[in-house]
């Protein structure tokens, strides 16, 4: 691959993603004039908000070399229990305090993940599979299983749910919550690229033993990472409650694979050490674009999941090709051979 081409492609396939998104957009616009409207655009933004927040958490965990499937359980646990508690107490401290409390709850649940993973050095997938079931079980059996509708939500939450940043005549609006979502995305990007904590996460994902050897406190970094990811998941959960104007303890759980797919599509490596916020945003947007608008291309909506699956395979394929790109050096010479040989 020529130097310019690989530069366009970006360090994490961002360029490629932009190209794919453009192709999809053009295809949709050509096949349906209804597509190219502010309404479609705002709907896309709105449906991307919650997945993006979750995806940012997944991104950080993937970079550190782990995989987290417990974030939906943390999200709904934190959001539902906080909302229920606030309603039960008969108080309405305002949406931001409620969000803050939920994030605290999420942080505590994240701490559980972090401690088990870092102290006992257990595989992250297994640990989070376990904690996911535990969190969900505790939520349903001890906290509540009753659907909370808009009528019962605190007034301040309902007010926030109805606040628009921008209204467009002829339908469509930009939801106010896009502001905190963008802020969070920027903060995560800065955290990952500009802080020692963020760089340590990349280092741990690149080579955990080497990270220890340069003096990174791997256990502490991992624990903090999962605390942060827990808080982020809780924010996503609250966002879900606010946008949907309901709190349903059965919701969210089950969406984890779509989110992980979007992040991997966004160039994060499943082996750790690589990934960017920009790529993740693009990955989420692409998946939502397909989920929302595939019908416009005349493809039945039942094919949505298959389309996401195909995209995921393409994304991972691009990663594998990238890893094998000839670079004039004798790096990774043998593994491909041996993989073939062993498979033979």
């Amino acid at each position: 691959m020529s130097g310019r081409l690989s530069r366009l492609r970006g360090p994490n396939n961002e360029g490629l993603l932009v190209a794919v998104i453009l192709v999809v957009v053009v295809a949709m616009a050509l096949s349906s004039p209804a597509f190219f409207t502010a309404g479609t655009f705002f709907a896309l933004v709105r449906s991307s908000m919650v997945p993006l927040i979750f995806a940012l958490g997944v991104l950080m965990v993937l970079i550190s070399g782990g995989i987290d499937v417990s974030f939906p359980a943390i999200a709904i646990f934190a959001a539902y229990s906080t909302v229920k508690w606030v309603i039960g107490a008969g108080a309405d401290p305002g949406p931001w305090v409620i969000i803050a409390i939920a994030m605290l709850v999420g942080a505590v649940l994240g701490l559980v993940n972090g401690v088990v993973i870092a102290r006992f050095r257990l595989p992250t997938l297994i640990v989070t599979l376990g904690t996911q079931s535990i969190f969900k079980g505790v939520l349903i059996s001890y906290i509540g299983s009753v659907y909370i509708s808009a009528a019962d939500l605190p007034d301040s939450v309902n007010a926030l749910a109805g606040s628009h940043l921008l209204d467009v005549s002829g339908g469509g609006y930009l939801h106010f919550m896009i502001v905190p979502v963008v802020v969070v995305a920027v903060l995560v990007a800065l955290l990952l690229s500009r802080t020692i904590f963020g760089r340590s996460i990349y280092a741990i994902g690149g080579d955990t033993e080497a990270a220890r050897r340069v003096g990174i406190d791997v256990v502490r970094t991992q624990v903090w990472l999962y605390v942060l990811v827990g808080a982020l998941a809780a924010f996503g959960g609250m966002l879900y409650v606010i946008l949907g104007r309901n709190a349903n303890p059965q919701s969210i759980v089950g969406t984890e694979l779509d989110i992980i797919a979007a992040v991997v599509l966004g160039g994060a490596s499943i082996f750790g050490g690589r990934g960017s916020v920009l790529g993740t945003v693009l990955g989420v947007v692409l998946v939502q674009l397909i989920n929302n608008n595939l019908v416009l291309l005349g493809i039945p909506s039942t094919w949505q999941r298959a389309a996401v699956g195909i995209l995921l395979l393409l994304g991972v394929g691009a990663q594998a090709l990238g890893a094998r790109r000839p670079n004039g050096h004798s790096v990774d010479v043998e593994p491909p051979l041996e993989r073939e040989e062993v498979a033979a």
Partner: protein
């Protein structure tokens, strides 16, 4: 500065066991400011283990580490770094996913307990060391995309980025050229004048004696000798290491005149790498190819093995012309290749010795019905394990737990198991101790005598002289000289390389 009395680092009676193996069995030593202390020993004698204990990577079973008079009971890597200990690890311990600059500077950022990472500060810090060493490195490249030599240089730079009081180097020169080694030594001498204590591990004993004032020799985890470097010669150190006399005598038989030609290169070339390379290798012959780093010597090997295929000329194997466009083609043609960077290219680190050995030759163990012939697999694993005298509790041990030199034997075993017609080895004894080197060369001789064609690419001239029938010298991508028979002599090679 003359070495003063108070040691900066003391190690008392350190014992470390892994499972049943005593890696260290009560080792004590001290390091004075301004001295270069060499640690020598065979592969698996415990050198790297001792270093890991000093740097807080491993906890000793018993014994203490004293830094600047302070006894540490639970030394962490962070403590060690902040006490001024810097280590160049044998496996480099770099981050493949981060840029060269960040790899170099991250350690000092962490040691300063910074919170914000600044790209400009990182670049400045990295550039300072790189320029100090007079190197040319692409600081923005990911380490995964760099050559082994560049990675080793980055590991060295990282150890120099902080002002170290103790600098520990675990085989820092395995991938370096002569000039780079000279530059490193200049820096070491400069640090020494500033009172830095240096601990140096290398299997190149001439190198060791050139730079160090004191020598400690380990054998099987125990200290067997310690004293002034001036009282030692490579021979006496080798003897202390192995407990026997080691010979580096030139021992090459005649290649029978009627031996068939196994590999023939005709005007082979690759743009930007080498051009017009022609030679023939006969069965039973050991051919050496040498030249400075960047001369194209490795590129020739990589073209023969299809890693970076040639773009002109032809390759014949056993008389038939072969198109070698990929590794697969080369393997089918009966060519084997032992790469330069054994730790990252040749092996699955977290897989057992046994599985690594047969990984490249599974096909040949197919029994009826496509299943593996387990009995045959077991037999050849046991045979290779014994023949190569790999030091490990058993063949089930993971390769990661092996010492560097023993890992190298596993790579060799893997390729010998494939029984290739032609085996190309790139730096086959890099990081291998002097006793094992003799054994590995003996194994190659044996293979050649049994009809294999062997090509050794190396800058270890004494090794080439010991083993090779014939030596080609490569310069700027061309074969400029060929030495046969009595011409094969260390001085003669050096003279022609300099010419």
């Amino acid at each position: 500065m003359a070495p003063s009395a108070a040691p900066v680092l003391e190690v008392h009676d350190v014992v470390k066991t892994y499972g049943g193996i005593h890696a260290l069995n009560g080792v004590s030593l001290e390091l004075l400011p301004g001295e270069v202390h060499c640690l020598a020993g065979e592969n698996g004698s415990g050198k790297s283990t001792l270093i890991k204990i000093i740097s807080g990577v491993e906890k000793p079973d018993s014994g203490t580490v004293v830094i600047n008079g302070r006894t540490h009971r639970h030394l962490t890597t962070g403590d060690a770094i902040r006490s001024g200990i810097q280590v160049i690890y044998q496996d480099f311990s770099l981050f493949p996913n981060l840029s060269a600059a960040e790899n170099i500077a991250m350690l000092s950022e962490l040691a300063d307990r910074r919170r914000i990472s600044s790209r400009s500060r990182i670049r400045a810090a990295a550039r300072r060391v790189v320029e100090d060493l007079g190197l040319r490195l692409d600081l923005d490249a990911d380490v995964a995309d760099l050559t082994v030599a560049d990675r080793q240089l980055i590991a060295i730079c990282r150890a120099l980025v902080n002002d170290a009081k103790v600098l520990i180097m675990d085989e820092p020169t395995t991938a370096l050229t002569h000039t780079e080694v000279e530059r490193l030594f200049t820096i070491v001498r400069r640090l020494q004048e500033r009172g830095v204590a240096v601990m140096f591990v290398s299997h190149k004993l001439d190198e060791v004696l050139e730079i160090s004032q004191r020598v400690t020799v380990l054998r099987n985890g125990a200290q067997v000798a310690s004293g002034a470097a001036a009282d030692h010669t490579p021979r006496t150190i080798a003897k202390a290491m192995t407990g026997r006399e080691v010979s580096d005598e030139r021992l090459v038989g005649e290649v029978p005149p009627d031996a068939p030609v196994l590999l023939e290169l005709d005007r082979l070339g690759r743009a930007g790498g080498f051009s017009d390379v022609s030679f023939a290798l006969r069965a039973g012959e050991i051919l050496g190819i040498t030249g400075l780093l960047g001369s194209g010597r490795s590129e020739i090997a990589e073209a023969i093995f299809g890693i970076h295929p040639a773009d002109s000329g032809t390759i014949r194997v056993a008389g038939t012309e072969r198109r070698i466009r990929s590794i697969r083609d080369a393997v089918h043609a009966g060519i084997g290749y032992v790469p330069e960077d054994r730790l990252t290219q040749g092996l699955f680190l977290d897989v057992s010795i046994a599985d690594n050995m047969i990984a490249a030759s599974l096909d040949s163990y197919r029994a009826r019905g496509g299943l593996l012939d387990r009995r045959r697999v077991r037999d050849s694993i046991a045979d290779l394990f014994r023949r190569l005298r790999i030091q490990a509790p058993n063949v089930g041990a993971m390769v990661r737990s092996l010492s560097g030199g023993n890992a190298q034997r596993v790579v060799l075993a893997k390729w010998l198991d494939r029984k290739p017609a032609v085996l190309v080895l790139n730096g086959p004894t890099v990081g291998v101790d002097i006793g094992s080197k003799e054994e590995i060369i003996a194994i190659l001789r044996e293979q050649a005598a049994a009809g294999m064609g062997v090509i050794i690419i190396s800058d270890d001239i004494p090794e080439l002289v010991t083993a090779c029938h014939r030596i080609l010298i490569v310069h700027e991508g061309r074969v400029v000289s060929e030495l046969t028979g009595d011409e094969v002599d260390a001085h003669e090679i050096q003279r022609r390389m300099a010419a």
